[in-house]
Symmetry: C2
Subunit: 390 residues, 2 copies
Amino acid sequence: MSKSWSQRSQLIESFKVMDLLKHAHALADQGRSIIHLGAGEPDFGAAPQVIEEAKRLLDTTPMTYTPAAGISGLREKIAAFHQQRYGQKIAADNVLVTAGASAALQLTFALLANRDQKILMADPGYPCNRQFLRIVEAQAVSIPVDHEQNYQLTAELVEQHWDEQTAGVLIASPANPTGAVIDPQELANIAATVSRLGGTLVVDEIYHGLTYGAETPSAFSIYTNCIVINSFSKYFGMTGWRLGWLVADASAVAEMEKMAQNLYISPTTLSQYAALRAFEPDAIELFELRREELQQRRDRLLEGLKRIGFKVPRTPAGAFYIYADASDLCDDSFSWCWELLERAGVVATPGADFGEYQAHKFVRFAYTTSLANIDEALNRIEQFVSDTRG
Amino acid sequence: MSKSWSQRSQLIESFKVMDLLKHAHALADQGRSIIHLGAGEPDFGAAPQVIEEAKRLLDTTPMTYTPAAGISGLREKIAAFHQQRYGQKIAADNVLVTAGASAALQLTFALLANRDQKILMADPGYPCNRQFLRIVEAQAVSIPVDHEQNYQLTAELVEQHWDEQTAGVLIASPANPTGAVIDPQELANIAATVSRLGGTLVVDEIYHGLTYGAETPSAFSIYTNCIVINSFSKYFGMTGWRLGWLVADASAVAEMEKMAQNLYISPTTLSQYAALRAFEPDAIELFELRREELQQRRDRLLEGLKRIGFKVPRTPAGAFYIYADASDLCDDSFSWCWELLERAGVVATPGADFGEYQAHKFVRFAYTTSLANIDEALNRIEQFVSDTRG
């Protein structure tokens, strides 16, 4: 096809790590040993109980379209889980089940932002957030943050960057790529500020449950004039099942349900029914054991990276990422990551995938692999750093 | 939440049949016998072979994210299926696997239409098409068609409605709600016209395979400067699995893959792997038997509706719908459908869900239920018509 695409499409970028991953697969095909510290998904998979339940469901349950907002049983389970975790009673009507957090974010921004309106968010951050806004012809305003703000927006920053075209603010906590958990008091301050300015607060809580000592109330339990995004991908280990949800005022849920009917018809049926099983006590117990394992990995990786010469001034309190400042080791983290792959067989994600602010200094390491692999990766990185310096 | 939503969101409508369906479920809960001629999904479900394969896969295959364009094996299988069906060799690079045809349509319109640009399409048509355009701040131009144009656009209509803001044309064949199959020569004429006018042709072929004697080459096999949408939902019976695909020039596929990464991450993993099994000869054989069953149902329903007094001047040659002109039976098909449900326990979809042109005259009947149910439904409709006339 010879024509040019829409301006929107041309502005949307690939993840830069994709080419790196392609090269990693090519190296692996050549027989090279590759350790992945790049993946944004847990290596555990769904709970075995959920998998068994899915097999049973395939024999018993017709996999037809469901209501666009999700099957009522799952909306109820999520509401009950919310109450159990956060001590706040919500109704099934406050829950919209979605085709992954991706769909929840798309619906939220489609609801909130008119064309050319703006949503404030932190740089660094999850790269797709900008694109969900581009699709609806709205825009992200990236606000540079670093370790001094714990990589999170503050009420002051929100106030500074707000203008009459601003429709809202996105907070992610725990955050990707930094693992930073926002202080609940700062979150409350931001909520109050956004409310005073007449916008809507959106809080991405997809890494909730994967925190290591930090206090993480749901934003909705502090302040109901917000939309909270969640997912079965991270804590529940169900990435490829493509299932998420959001919590909001019932009127906002109803409005987004109307859009979801049109844009998605419904989330995958088997994933919805199987996910019911993930809330049973034995499954939750397993997820908590995994969380402990992740905490051990974080500690091991953090200690190792610091020893090698990365700077990580604040211990990341959640998710499964360490966003490490490599500026004492290299000038450009992007080419450093390529060289690390080529010479040491370790995959890590360059900062450039998460924004622009000081991106060339940073590398995201994901601890989504075993302690043994983390140890081996650290050895390789150490050797690589010593070779390239030397 | 007290604020108003985006203009876009306010413009997007629910399917009108949703309230009717809710009422149908309420009546069923009260013990009433309800026959559904409303559902836009086949009653057969996935092939048993696909279900068995899915169970096996759950034990053997990690359900992680896949490439955004789909697993390479499935892209290859779809390319081979295309060649087998249409005699045109295409490559895996021409195929993008998507989260249902919904995602394929969204990506296509996001690729083609700048804000405020227009896509021409037939009224009546699938209601979501308008909304996929609203999401990207573009717009649908609905062109009224009736049985005299076989409910399809013509090259002449395209030319008449084209202006400098027009980015392309959407054809659906077989069409929802009319079951109309476009004449291959007319499709070629439209393709030539769109090309001359500098736009892109999009052809929704999700009901391909479900045709009863009509000739249905893929538009891509006539004319490669187009984007063709397809789905596992209809011919393959996998609605709740949320899997579709599109076929296009490799550069268009690559451009949409980039957007798909950001908007969806990837289609549901289990659905992708299980769908490989749907292309095996024994599964295809089953789908062909189902097609014959659907043809019998169409014939039975069509004959019955005409006997009762509906007008269907052209025999619908595909999909599983009859779009029947009820103007000899009622003034307003919307209230007629409600009364039909209330008094006779039969669900059908009022024309209002598919557009505006003469919508109040029409009712869509879906033959997605058994011959026995169709016979019983016809008896009830006949009785209802005779009672209400009488």
